[in-house]
Structure formats: C-alpha cells, structure tokens
C-alpha cells in the first residue's frame, strides 16, 4: 500500500482522473455505538484499538496518552502496543470520539477542560496530537468534557461539571471540526431537570438528541470509598434523561431515571426508535421510546446483577441489530450479555468474570470480537492487586467469551486503560499523496 504522507497533491489529478467515485451515505451507526453521522464504518476486521489512557504518577512519563494496539490477528504484532502519543500532562483522560469524517479523534480529561485533537488519517497506526482546545471553560463555564459526538462538520461535547462550584450542573459545547467554538447549551434545570450531564446520542430520523446525567467534579474526583460514606454527596448524582429537539437544540422532555443513567445506545436496527441506558447506582436497565403524545418516555426494564451489592454497571455495547447488549459492571468485574429481542423485557443469558475491575466494552461490527478495559476513574479504581489495568480482547461465538490477547497497561508503563475506539489502516485520507517520483526513487 502506498504510504500517503504529507499534504502534497501530486497524485490527485491522477486519482481524480481515474476515480470511479463511490458515495457512502451517512450510516446509521459506527461499530455499533458511535454517531450516526460518522462515516467509514469498519465492517470487516479492525486493525487497531485506540485506548485513551490515564497517566499514573511514576509510571512511564506519567501523562495521559493515546495508545495504539494492533488487533489484526494476521499481524506479527497482534495484541501488542505499536504506538503511543502522550499529551504531556495528567488530567483524568476519560472518553474520546471521532469527527464525522473519521479523520480525527477528540479526547479530553475530566479534571480540567482541555480537549486534545489527534490526527488518525495521515497514519492510522501512529496518531498525532495536532491541537489542544483550551477555551471550553472560558467560552461556556463548563468543565470536565466527557462525550464527543460527531455532527456534520462539528463536534458536540457533553461536559460533566462547571467551573463555578464544580457541581453537576453543566451543559454541552458545540465546536466545528477545526476546533473553533460555536455555541453552548445548558442542561435544563426546570420541568424536573437536574441540570446534570453525562452521555449524549442522536437519532436523526426522529430529530431527537438524548442526554443522560452523572455527577460533578466535586464527586467524581473524590476517592470512591470516601464518597459513598458522604450521604449528602451521594444525593448529588443525576436522575434524569432529556429528549431534545435536535434541530432546535432545545430540551423537549425531561424523564426521571434515578441512579445516574450513563451510556446511551440507540438501536441501530432500521425502523427501531428506542434506546437503552444503564443506571449505575440502582443497577437497572432503562428503555427510552416515544410515547403516545409525541414525546418520549423512560421505563425500567431489567435488573443487572444484585443491586444490593452495588455492582455498578458502567459501559454497555449494543449489537448492530439491536438484539443484544453487553453490560460491564465495575465492582464485581463481570461482563454480562442481555438478550434484547424484546427490549421491554431484556433477559440476561450469559455472564463471565473478565477482570478484578472492568469498565469499557466495545465490539466489532459483526459482534465476534469484544474488547474490555479496566479503569473507571483514577480515584475510583481499586487498589493493590485488584488494580488490574488492561486491554483484553475476546472472541464471542454467541455462547462463550474466549480470551484472545491481553495488554498489561501497568507492565507496559502506560497507565489506566479507559475508552476505546477502533481503527483501520485503510482509513487514510486520500487528500494526501504518495511521495513524488524523485523521492520514491531515492528510497
């Protein structure tokens, strides 16, 4: 494959002259959980898993970093770290998201407000940090950027907290793909709204944006053991989801969903108009769907593990056909599979202990490959031997999760493994061209 390196345009006339141009319509979903505006789905074998990793003091350079792991089983470096790019500071790296053209990854840290932009199109195996956006707090008053959700030509960022009191009342910030600020949107505090934020997810065919709610900096930066003993602080968790008019970016329906509803997943099955979420503190699955009056309603539909033991469901991953859902619970280190054939009555059909602590879970488009990471938050992760930090790859045959590889993030001096995104070597941009003939001849 030609190395497509710099922004030279030498080959473009040739490329355009011979182009039989294919147009991919905007797909309804990424590898099952990303923005429906995201292009370039990886429907075959992914080559890389990018892991947004929290730095640990005294481990490697101690900074947050984007780590590239080779996950192509045919590769000689399968299951190995093949790249890492440090941001040079430690700021509670948490989530990340692709721009709509999948040329860049935006990631951020919860302890501040900086947002890092990585180029993954020039060389998908070796992302490069190309920009740090530093005006989030100044422009919005919000801190703790969490979810990065691609809209056409822009990125909608859900934050968790605010600069003023570091509580949970927060909002969303809209940037264009070049990282220029466009607008802010406050989470609703009237009509039952708590003003809190966590995840967001769009269904363009219904003109709806769903948001969920977690807690603010003052809580998520405290040690978990200390926090759960603070009765007043434990009341400061989100208990709402909001359905927004996407076009107008105005809240339309506030739904009461107690217990900190976190990740939101729309069914990608054409024609479906429902989404699910997991409430962390109550250990419940909730279904969000339209009501008879044209609004939206949330309904508790299943229990995850034993809520009395606070298993703490964290990440969920929906199958591309909407028929099944993976649920990771942090405290007991379990990965559970729910049959979603009837979304009003999900049934757990499988479970496996996949780590002493597990957080994020992602699956390939065909569902046969499942990836799990370990870290929740620096001050919430377990201690001692239970503080495993890893990326684990599994094969799923519909009956059993079988280990395929593991990267020990402590042994590799990387840090705490958190959010994952899938990458492919074919997703190089065509804007850039092979080196000119003279340079090629000199190699």
């Amino acid at each position: 494959m030609n190395r497509i390196g710099s922004k030279s345009m030498a080959s473009l006339p040739v490329a355009f002259a011979i182009a039989t141009l294919l147009v991919a319509s905007a797909a309804r979903g990424d590898e099952t959980c990303n923005s429906p505006y995201m292009a370039k789905l990886i429907k075959g074998q992914e080559d890389y898993v990018y892991v947004w990793t929290l730095g640990v003091e005294g481990l490697g350079d101690g900074s947050d970093k984007l780590v590239t792991v080779d996950v192509d089983p045919k590769s000689k470096s399968y299951g190995k770290v093949i790249g890492q790019v440090s941001v040079g500071t430690r700021g509670e790296a948490h989530h990340m998201g692709f721009t709509d053209d999948r040329r860049r990854i935006w990631g951020g840290g919860l302890s501040g407000s900086d947002i890092y932009v990585f180029d993954i199109a020039t060389d998908p195996a070796q992302p490069k940090l190309i920009k740090t956006i530093k005006d989030l707090a100044v422009k919005t008053g919000f801190i703790g950027p969490h979810t990065y959700y691609a809209l056409p030509g822009r990125m909608l960022v859900q934050t968790l907290s605010n600069e003023k009191d570091k509580g949970g009342v927060t909002g969303m910030a809209l940037y264009n793909n070049e990282g220029e600020f466009i607008a802010r949107y406050a989470m609703p505090t009237d009509d039952g709204g708590d003003g809190y934020g966590y995840d967001l997810a769009v269904n363009p065919t219904r003109n709806v944006l769903l948001t969920s709610s977690f807690t603010g900096y003052a809580n998520y930066m405290r040690p978990l053991g200390e926090l759960i003993k603070d009765e007043a602080a434990m009341k400061r968790f989100g208990h709402t989801m909001v359905a927004w008019d996407l076009k107008a970016m105005k809240p339309k329906t506030v739904m009461q969903v107690p217990g900190a509803p976190l990740e939101i997943r729309w069914s990608l099955n054409p024609g479906d108009d429902w989404a699910v979420t997991a409430a962390a503190l109550t250990s419940k699955l909730w279904l969000v769907r339209p009501d008879a009056s044209g609004g939206w309603q949330a309904k508790e539909v299943a229990t995850i593990g034993d809520p009395a033991k606070i298993p703490l469901p964290v990440d969920i991953s929906i199958r591309r056909d909407g028929k099944g859902l993976w649920v990771n619970t942090f405290m007991d280190g379990m990965t559970r599979y729910f049959d979603l054939t009837n979304p009003q009555a999900p049934k757990q059909t499988y479970e496996k202990h996949t780590g002493t602590q597990v957080n994020m879970i992602s699956q390939s488009w065909d569902g046969t490959r499942v990836y799990i990471t370990s870290s929740l938050l620096a001050n919430w992760d377990k201690a001692g031997a239970d503080n495993e930090q890893f990326l684990r790859g599994f094969r799923w045959d519909g009956k059993e999760l079988r280990p395929a590889f593991e990267v020990d993030f402590t042994k590799e001096k990387l840090g705490r493994a958190h959010h994952m995104k899938l990458g492919s070597k074919v997703l190089r941009t065509a804007y850039v061209a092979p080196a000119p003939p003279a340079a090629r001849a000199a190699r």
Partner: protein, 218 residues
C-alpha cells in the same frame, strides 16, 4: 470496479439517470420546529477558490455563494450510487420546483453543484450534466461548476470538510483506484457562512426550506 470506459459513457449521459433510482431519505417521523423559532449556528466560513463555469470562465467560488442563500453540493458526473450524488441532484431538483413556486424565496436562493473530479468533469461535461437546469426560470439560479485542477480543488474540498478516501480491495487489502466520499450538502448564508450541513439522513426538502426561511428571518 466500474471500468473507466463505462464511467466515461455514464458521464456523457447528461443529468444522472440514477437520480430516478435514488431513494428518498428516511421519512421524517417528527414535526419540524417552525422556521424562525430556532437558531442556525455559524459553523464556519465557506472556503473560496477558483472554479470554472460550464462556459469555461474562471471565477472565484464566492461569486456563486454570496448575496443569496446558497445550497452547495459536491458531485462527480460518473457517480452511480443512487444514494450519493444522484440523491443530491434529485433533492436539488425538487427544491428548485418548490422555491420557484414560492415568491418569497425564488429571488433569494441559488443552487451550486461543484464537481469533485476536475480531470474528467470538464466544463463541457458539466454543461451536458446540467442540461436544461441551466435555464434561469423564475429567478432561481443553479450553477454547475468544476475546478481548473485537482490542485485548485483541494483547498475547497478541505475547507468544506468534504473528505475523500481511497476504497480498498478487501480481497487483497490494497487500495484500489476508486475514491469514496460521504454525501454532504452545505447551506451558506448571504454573508458566506456555512449555517447547516445535511447528510442523507436529513436531506429533506421540507427541512431545507425551513432552514432557508429561518435565515431569511434574521
């Protein structure tokens, strides 16, 4: 892969036959907000650069994206995917009829179709592609443009964020001589700011008309 000769034949065929096969976007199962009750954000400045008209005249793109509200879409005449360029053509065609039938809009809007493929889509090819759409009926303009070269097209493609990538032969894993892009249509205000970007899931004429009316109320 469609061989170049076939593609060349397709591009001689004038307006895209595939437009008739283009599926409409998913139905809108919702009520759109009333025009003027919401804000369209200033997403970015519309980039500028040299283009060629169907008569081969050199001009800046800004000549066709200012003063009126502009809808701009990238196409290439050999595109055969019904949900790509032909869909954009079909939606523009419908919009043209709706705008011409609305006195308040017809002198306020212009359509721009800009080719991705300057090597193949010469001004004369674009003229054939445009056909009768070039006729200025009822005050609505529809411009069909191409770039003098890929070199000069690149800043426009980059500036609009209209990504193009190589396709890959899945049997060998090697890139093949095909390019792909995601359908986007850009709504540009009279001052030259991009105010909305539509993909195939939101490319509804009614939604676009509502946005145009919203801009006219500013």
């Amino acid at each position: 892969m469609v061989i170049p000769a076939l593609a060349a034949l397709l591009c001689l065929a004038g307006p895209p036959a595939a437009a008739d096969r283009a599926k409409d976007p998913p139905p809108m199962d919702f009520v759109l907000p009333e025009p003027g009750t919401y804000a369209l954000q200033h997403i970015m400045r519309a980039p500028d650069g040299p283009v060629l008209t169907v008569d081969g005249q050199l001009a800046n793109l800004s000549r066709f994206t200012r003063e009126r509200i502009t809808l701009l879409g990238f196409i290439y005449t050999s595109c055969t995917n019904p949900q790509g360029c032909p869909l954009a053509y079909r939606v523009f065609d419908r919009l043209k009829d709706e705008i011409r039938a609305t006195p308040a809009l017809k002198d306020q809007v212009q359509l721009v179709t800009l080719s991705f493929d300057p090597a193949r889509d010469t001004p004369s090819v674009m003229k054939r592609y445009a056909g009768s759409q070039l006729e200025d009926e009822g005050g609505l303009r529809w411009f069909f443009l191409t770039a003098p070269s890929a070199h000069e097209l690149l800043p426009l493609v980059e500036g609009f964020g209209q990504d193009v990538q190589y396709a890959t032969d899945t049997s060998t894993g090697r890139p093949v001589r095909q390019l792909s892009h995601v359908l986007k249509v850009f709504l540009i205000d009279r001052a030259g700011d991009v105010r909305e970007i539509y993909t195939s899931t939101f490319l509804h004429p009614r939604a676009i008309i509502g946005d145009i009316e919203t801009l006219l109320m500013e």
